[in-house]
């Protein structure tokens, strides 16, 4: 069967997995294999960039055509949540890079700890996005932790809470949903649905990438626990890292475009 899985058999079992790693037989050396893997993954990343390129293109052109709707739209997003989430992702990128450094220098335990932190930061990004952005916009239930809430103090419906009182209902705040679900009563600009279409497509596809990245991180965390990666072999961590940084990179652009420019 798969001859590319061929391993050198003469190496004693006592050594850990990364020391026993032998590159696939069609590569000339392990260095070549590592270089080739990275080249292939960079090509894959370029497809990711162009995938989001469609969103960025739509954003730019609709923005140019319907500036009022865009100004209105970005002002209904809370930059504080966006900025906080940006910081979360940047820090997670840092911990990812640190975990690669730790693997390279043979500190497997610290590397795993950093991978775990990266995973948790990714998870908190998604949770914050859901709790503070998607749920309020979808339903009108607003997390009371949100500092922006005081703008809506006059519109809070007393006694209407969800999630053990964590969320409170704000009259008319919900309804910023995409497409036919859109019923935002304050939408003075009739092209507001287009803004929300771009907002949801961009952030949802990005969030899906965060989830995929988290799955990849969980995988290398688990493999690292079995001693798969070490100073001479860490292609899996490196590639997961590249993917995670790309997710960060996309958000670096989405954040100012959606939250700051108006």
């Amino acid at each position: 069967m798969s001859t590319i899985d061929a391993k050198q058999t003469s190496v004693p079992e006592s050594r850990s997995r990364w020391q026993r790693y032998a590159h696939a037989h069609h590569w000339r050396s392990q260095a070549e294999e590592f270089d080739g893997c990275k080249l292939g993954f960079w090509l894959f990343l370029s497809t990711e960039v162009l995938l989001f390129g469609g969103i960025f293109c739509g954003y730019t052109l609709f923005r140019s055509m319907y500036p009022a709707a865009w100004a209105e739209g970005s002002s209904s997003l809370d930059w504080k949540i966006g900025a906080f989430n940006t910081a979360v992702l940047l820090i997670s990128s840092y911990t990812m890079a640190v975990s690669i450094y730790c693997i390279q220098t043979g500190k497997q335990a610290r590397a795993r700890a950093n991978l775990a932190v990266t995973f948790l930061l990714g998870a908190s990004f998604v949770i914050l996005k859901l709790a503070l952005e998607y749920i309020p916009k979808w339903s009108g239930y607003f997390c009371v932790l949100d500092p922006a809430l005081h703008h809506h103090a006059s519109m809070i419906v007393e006694g209407k809470t969800a999630f053990f009182g964590l969320f409170q209902f704000v009259e008319g705040y919900g309804g910023k949903r995409p497409g036919m679900l859109f019923d935002y009563p304050f939408a003075v600009d009739p092209r507001m649905p287009v803004w929300w279409a771009i907002y949801y497509c961009g952030t949802a596809i990005h969030a899906a990438h965060v989830l995929i990245g988290m799955a990849l991180i969980a995988r290398v965390w688990w493999l690292a626990g079995k001693g798969t990666y070490g100073p001479t072999y860490y292609a899996g961590v490196e590639i997961t890292g590249l993917y995670w940084h790309l997710v960060d990179l996309i958000w670096i652009f989405l954040f100012p475009l959606l939250y700051l420019i108006h």
Binding site: M1, S2, T3, I4, A6, K7, Q8, T9, A22, H23, A24, H25, H26, W27, E32, D35, G36, C37, L39, G40, L43, F44, S46, T47, E48, V49, L50, L51, F52, G53, G54, I55, C57, G58, L61, F62, M65, P178, G179, M180, L181, P190, R191, P193, V194, W196, A197, I198, Y200, C201, I205
Partner: protein
């Protein structure tokens, strides 16, 4: 699954990759889980030929419907009858349903032929099989990704075929909005077809990515960039386009699916979106992908003409750079599909840029002709197809000029002229090159020779059928016959009838090829290592190659077309005699 190291590749020496591994089911599992690029190439070849059959059936149905225009005639008793309708019963109420069937059929033909046949055809089958051999590599860079690509292709095709079973879609293969986002909203078939195309994009990306890394990293010792066969250059250039353009169709189709589900307004003007934006998104992918289709075809032709002329290819670097040039230009000309929907400013600029494509393309054609000049040509099926390609592709290319010219295009837009043009390029280009390539590498793939006489007869029949089918459509187009209609006015009937007869001749030609190849598999003469006298590395391997391609890693010692200084190895002139005086030979090194 024996363990062995990279250092002893000749442990398996002797076993052909086609060798049986045991019982029937052992073999099935072996093929289904193989990471061998040769087996994956063969699997791709058969999957693509099957889809080609499906798309071909749809095409024949379309042509048969057009044999006779749909019209109401009054019979002797004063009763109104509908004649000329192939689909639907012959009564006045069924015209609409018959037309719907026609719309579904041409959509299926287009979608299958583009997304499932021509785009993956050459890279998936011949590229997978030949490219690593040409580079002297044991496999592509990521063998498992390669297998994944094949499975993704199959899954995407299953989505599309499911959509056909559910009744098919009638959006045209271009899925233009807002029709595609509003038609048959309650049914899953449009989304299935769209997602099928989306999934097929991933297969394309993975194949392209694999080839780029293979070319960069796995060339044999001594093989510099300009020692690569031109086939590799062509595949490499098209792989760049695959990687850069395909993700955009991914996001486009994803947004289209979102728009159908939630009615978000990105492309539908009724929802605030912009339908021309969809066309830009679509053609930013689909125009470069036209070159994903034709570049591998050109790559094959460079090989066929070089090898079967037994002459150093004329202007190697020019052809190689022309491939890259086409890949580069392909990204800035997509607007010529949209002259009737775009703003005048953009139309003018795109029209001007479109003519840039002609330059590298003509460079290639002239270099091929220069290679043929005073070569020692062996006229066999592959060479015949190379000549057919030069004829049909040149017509296809030259008829592209009036379509790229803004003013003439406004007249010719969406007529049969366009249909004929792109069939001359896609079919007369890519499919002809691919059939030629299949015959060229058939001995290498399966270790059997095919019947040369019947191969050539098949090629001639295909050539006649193709031209009869499509050349007539140029006349119809200039006279204003629009595409995508089940019916037409009387004056076009003769043209349509000739065209339909041509398509039946084409069918006969393909059947001849099918029989030739099946006969070769069952009772073909065993193929020598190097039946054509090629100098590229794949002819150093056995026919069929052993599991790891080469007993030893080959070292490149001459360029791929150095016929003026080298005699091909394992060359058996008894099989294919070349006039000795035409071959300026010196002893190898």
């Amino acid at each position: 699954m024996s363990a062995h190291t990279h250092a002893t590749p000749h442990a398996h020496h002797g076993g052909s990759y086609l060798e049986s591994k045991g019982s029937f089911w052992t073999n099935v599992i072996d093929w289904a889980t193989t990471v061998d690029h040769k087996k994956i190439g063969v699997m791709y070849l058969f999957a693509i030929l099957f889809m080609f059959f499906l798309g071909g059936v749809a095409a024949l149905a379309v042509r048969l419907e057009l044999l006779d225009p749909v019209r109401a005639v009054t019979d002797g008793a004063g009763k109104v009858m509908i004649t000329g309708q192939l689909f639907g019963a012959a009564d006045a109420n069924s015209i609409a349903s018959g037309n719907d069937t026609y719309n579904v059929l041409f959509t299926l033909h287009g979608a299958i032929m583009v997304f499932m046949v021509i785009v993956p055809s050459v890279p998936g089958s011949l590229g997978n099989f030949v490219l690593p051999l040409m580079l002297g590599a044991k496999d592509v860079a990521f063998p498992r990704v390669n297998l994944l690509s094949w499975y993704i292709y199959v899954v995407g095709s299953i989505f599309a075929v499911t959509s056909i079973i559910l009744g098919g879609v009638d959006t045209g293969w271009t899925f233009y909005t807002p029709y595609s986002t509003t038609t048959a909203l309650g049914e899953p078939k449009v989304v299935l077809m769209v997602l099928g195309a989306f999934i097929l994009g991933f297969a394309s990306i993975l194949t392209g990515l694999n080839f780029i890394v293979t070319v960069h990293k796995l060339r044999a010792p001594g093989m510099g960039w300009f020692d690569m066969p031109l086939f590799v250059w062509g595949i490499y250039s098209s792989a760049i386009i695959q990687v850069l353009a395909t993700p955009v169709i991914g996001i486009t189709l994803l947004l289209l699916a979102f728009e159908r589900f939630t009615r978000i307004g990105i492309f539908d003007p009724a929802l605030g979106g912009d339908p021309v934006l969809f066309q830009h998104f679509f053609w930013f992918y689909s125009h470069p992908v036209v070159y994903v289709m034709i570049l591998p075809g050109m790559a094959i032709i460079s090989e066929l003409i070089g090898v079967h002329s037994h002459k150093k290819i004329f202007g190697y670097r020019a052809v190689a750079f022309a491939s890259l040039g086409i890949a580069g230009v392909s990204f800035i000309v997509w607007g010529h599909h949209m002259f009737t929907s775009m703003s005048e400013v953009a139309s003018t600029i795109f029209s001007g840029l479109t003519f840039l494509v002609a330059i590298p393309t003509a460079v290639k054609v002239f270099n091929w002709i220069g290679t043929l000049y005073k070569g020692s040509i062996s006229l066999n099926t592959p060479m015949l197809y190379a000549l057919i390609f030069l004829f049909t592709f040149s017509i296809g290319g030259l008829t592209g000029l009036p379509l790229g010219t803004l003013s003439t295009d406004l007249h010719l837009h969406d007529t049969y002229f366009v249909v004929a043009h792109f069939h001359y390029v896609m079919m007369g280009g890519t499919i002809m090159a691919m059939i030629g390539g299949i015959h060229h590498w058939w001995p290498k793939m399966f270790g059997k020779m095919y019947n040369e006489r019947w191969g050539m007869i098949g090629a001639i029949v295909v050539f006649i059928g193709f031209n009869v089918t499509f050349f007539t459509q140029f006349f119809m187009g200039t006279r204003g016959m629009p595409r995508r209609y089940a019916s037409y006015v009387q004056e076009f009937q003769i043209w349509h009838q000739v065209s339909t007869i041509g398509s039946l001749i084409l069918l006969v030609g393909f059947l001849i090829h099918l029989f030739v190849l099946v006969q070769s598999l069952l009772a073909g003469r065993k193929a020598p290592k190097n039946p054509w006298g090629g100098l590229t590395l794949e002819w150093l391997a056995d026919s069929p190659p052993e599991e790891h391609n080469f007993a030893h890693e080959p070292i490149v010692q001459c360029g791929p077309y150095d016929y003026d200084t080298h005699v091909p190895h394992h060359w058996d002139p008894k099989d294919y005699q070349i006039p000795e005086e035409n071959l300026r030979t010196t002893a190898a090194h």
